[in-house]
Amino acid sequence: MTTTTITTTTTTTTITKGKPSTFYETFERKAGKDKLTTHYCPGCGHGRVHKLVAEALEEMGLGDRTIFISPVGCSVFAYYYMNTGNVQAPHGRAPAVGTGLARARQDSIVISYQGDGDLAAIGTAEIVHAANRGENMTVFFINNAIYGMTGGQMAPTTMVGQKTLTSPYGRDAATEGYPMRMSELIATLEAPVYVERVSCTDVKNIHKCRKAIRKALQLQVERKGFSFVEILSTCPTNWKMNPQDSIKWIQEVMEPYYKPGVYKDKTAEAKPLPKSAPITDPDELRRILGLEKGKTEAKTRASIGERRIKIAGFGGQGALTAGAMLATAGMNEGLQVTWLPSYGPEMRGGTANCSVIISDKRIGSPLVMRPDVLIAMNRPSLDAFEQEVAPGGMIIVNSSMIDRKVSRSDIKAVYVPFTELAAGLGLKAAANTVAVGAFLAQEPLFDRERIFEVLRTSFKKKEAVETNIRAVDEGFNFGRT
């Protein structure tokens, strides 16, 4: 292809010396016999813009790298024409689909081509956020002030007073709001690098349009992020005008409201976005995931049956951590374990509790409704769960924080001042570790050493490990008495 003439005063777009290779010679994906003419109406702006985009891709040598997203709207069939990789997207979602594509293939050129219903109505969230994230993609926004595909209903960009099938008396700003200026809106965001509105009417404007398209694509080639070109475009069919009047309507009605111009240009200061390549080496992945090689040995050991434990306290007392310590130690002992926390807003400012089950066989429900052992770290926990403890069960009470005795007589009560014992070691936060020690004194499911192992891996500071080990011992010794 050498030269291109686009005649705007007539109804067709003529390319005199051959089509760019980025535009299919014949439209094989098009249904029906006619594989030579586009599905667009005479004088439609879409066909014109397609060709400008195709020419730019050809000239810039981007045919192989491009992924063109067809939206929902009259340009839903853009893939009939664009000789690039093609993906068709749901109505309004092209910028989200483009995000997935651009992140997945960082060397590709992603084009999101969208109409005004697609982009400015149903897809408002997607366009705003793709722009705000500064996705490395180019958006061509075809503003024709109407829903073309569905036969001429009102768009968010329909002019005040404009009659459409769903604004039969003319768009009334009092009830339907004002036409949305998307370029201005997108330009308020920090991330986009380039936002321009052009009009695709006369030769001079088409030249500007071509330049804007190239610039937007070039920025993407340089990985400078998000570029947005709004193109005022004709829909003679639904405007119920002939193509010449349509051009005039753009010039006289649309342009004064949708002023062409550059709304944002950060080309000079924009830095290329970083690239990343997924790691595929399995060993490296395992290292990153913190997975340890080898097997956890299944130990043959005396049967311990099953213990259902509930640990409760106020947030910050470490009830959940105490449960996790017991569960981890149990796992390392070769036992079956589960740990289920209370979760969600109930934890906010209130009590936290967890269900822990340690068993020598497969565990059913992980939720402990009738605990064999309740560790109550504060008064509300004792009040809440005392009645749930299974008959013959046990409650270990943090006597530093709970000023009453267990009222039931069918269960065993053990009183250990978790908080005081921890404070005695200079680490009040270790009250939960004291509780673990007290528990093991009553329920010798495994050796304390198992807990020490957990402590050694969970604290970085040697000092913290030592203090917590002593806390376990304090709880254990007190709990035995």
Binding site: R29, A31, D64, I67, V76, F77, Y79, N83, G85, N86, V87, Q88, A89, P90, A96, V97, G98, T99, G100, A102, R103, A104, R105, D107, S108, I109, V110, A125, E126, H129, S276, P278, P282, L285, R286, I288, L289, G290, L291, E292, K293, G294, T296, A324, A327, T328, M331, V337, T338, W339, L340, Y343, G344, P345, I363, G364, S365, P366, L367, M369
Partner: protein, 352 residues
């Protein structure tokens, strides 16, 4: 690998990465948020992508994009988010894109609450969006299966070019249990249909639009054939003490764990009760249910945390040959063991 004590939700992310998933797109929601959080932690470290999308609608469409580009990609959410994703899931089905979705169910309808329920069965197992499509649905009942089924979901979705859902609930997602991550995971197959933005795939198109009635009919027929093949080949279940059972409980997810406790109790009382636990909800384990119905089983009892969304599948599988009773609960509370014991005892003693 050595066993790790880990939440089901977090196991999903590690498993996905081992399976070669490189792109995660999601939106936070309790009780699925740990999945997004773990993804936000790990995906950047492996040179992959984590995007917190502006909505579940956007997230599923990002998945659509990354899947179109041939990546192993996923999202996760819970009820309200899945409702929003349905549009995208229908497009994924129409475009025959592989993708993995984890649904950590919470209680509904509406905002409901954040505690476990199984009320998303219909929307995930029966299609949920518009059109004649189905998802493969895997139903883990432990953290280990959250790992194993996530990997399986990637394998099946790539093989059949469809969405595979890991359907779980708040308590399985939140519970920490020992998990042994696998030593080897099969790499993803080559995807010559993908659009990668290179010369080789320039000719490719990912789309769900078929303008002629014949071509759309052909797509639909191809989809139905695929689902029939999935039904023939991919039914998975666990038999739990059902070899001599006169009453078989059918339960999945955390409800099956409560049912295990109930069965222990019922056996102690001398009742011959077992369980058939579907591991796949689509395809539903019809083969095994038919065998059971043809044998000594007198009755079935479906136990669910829903209004009975699975019952019809059981009744159809056994062609109404045996009576099917139901125990259901909702609102976010796990059933108590005694409740299932009572329901089974009543059913067991029923004469008709």
């Amino acid at each position: 690998m050595k066993k790790e004590l880990i939440k089901g939700n977090e196991a999903v992310v590690k498993a996905a990465i081992l399976a070669g998933c490189t792109h995660y797109f999601g939106y936070p929601i309790t009780p699925a948020s740990e999945i997004a959080q773990a993804a936000a932690h790990f995906f950047p470290l492996i040179g992959g992508t984590f995007v917190q999308a502006e909505s579940e609608v956007a997230a599923i469409n990002m998945v659509y994009g990354a899947a179109s580009a041939g990546r192993r990609t996923m999202t996760a959410s819970s009820g309200p988010g899945l409702s929003l994703k349905q549009e995208g899931i229908s497009y994924l089905a129409g475009a025959e894109l592989p993708s993995v979705i984890v649904d950590v169910m919470r209680a509904g309808p509406g905002l409901g609450n954040i505690w476990p329920e199984q009320g998303d069965y219909n929307q995930m197992v029966k299609g949920g969006g518009h059109g004649n499509y189905k998802n493969i649905v895997l139903a883990p009942n432990s953290a280990q299966e959250m790992c194993d089924f996530t990997i399986l979901a990637f394998e099946l979705s790539d093989h059949y070019r469809c969405t595979a859902v890991v359907l779980t609930d708040g308590s399985i997602g939140q519970t920490m249990e020992p998990v042994e991550f696998p030593d080897h995971v099969k790499p993803a197959p080559a995807k010559d249909w993908a659009v990668r933005g290179d010369a080789e795939t320039r000719k490719n198109l990912v789309s769900s639009i078929y303008m002629s009635t014949e071509t759309l009919r052909a797509l639909n027929e191809r989809l139905q054939k695929k689902y029939a093949e999935i039904e023939a080949r991919e039914q998975r279940w666990e038999d739990y003490r059902d070899d001599d059972a006169e009453l078989v409980i059918v339960a999945y997810g955390v409800t099956s764990r409560v049912a295990e406790n109930a069965i222990e109790e019922l056996r102690r009382k001398g009742l011959k009760v077992g369980m058939l636990r579907p591991k796949t909800l689509f395809p539903f384990p019809k083969k095994r249910l038919q065998e059971l119905a043809a044998g000594r089983v007198r009755r079935f009892l479906v136990a669910e945390m829903s209004n009975g969304q699975m019952i019809d599948d059981v009744k159809l599988a056994i062609e109404h040959k045996k009576p099917v009773d139901f125990y259901g609960t909702y609102g976010g509370k796990l059933p108590a063991v005694e409740e299932i014991v009572d329901a089974v005892e009543t059913a067991y003693n029923r004469q008709s």
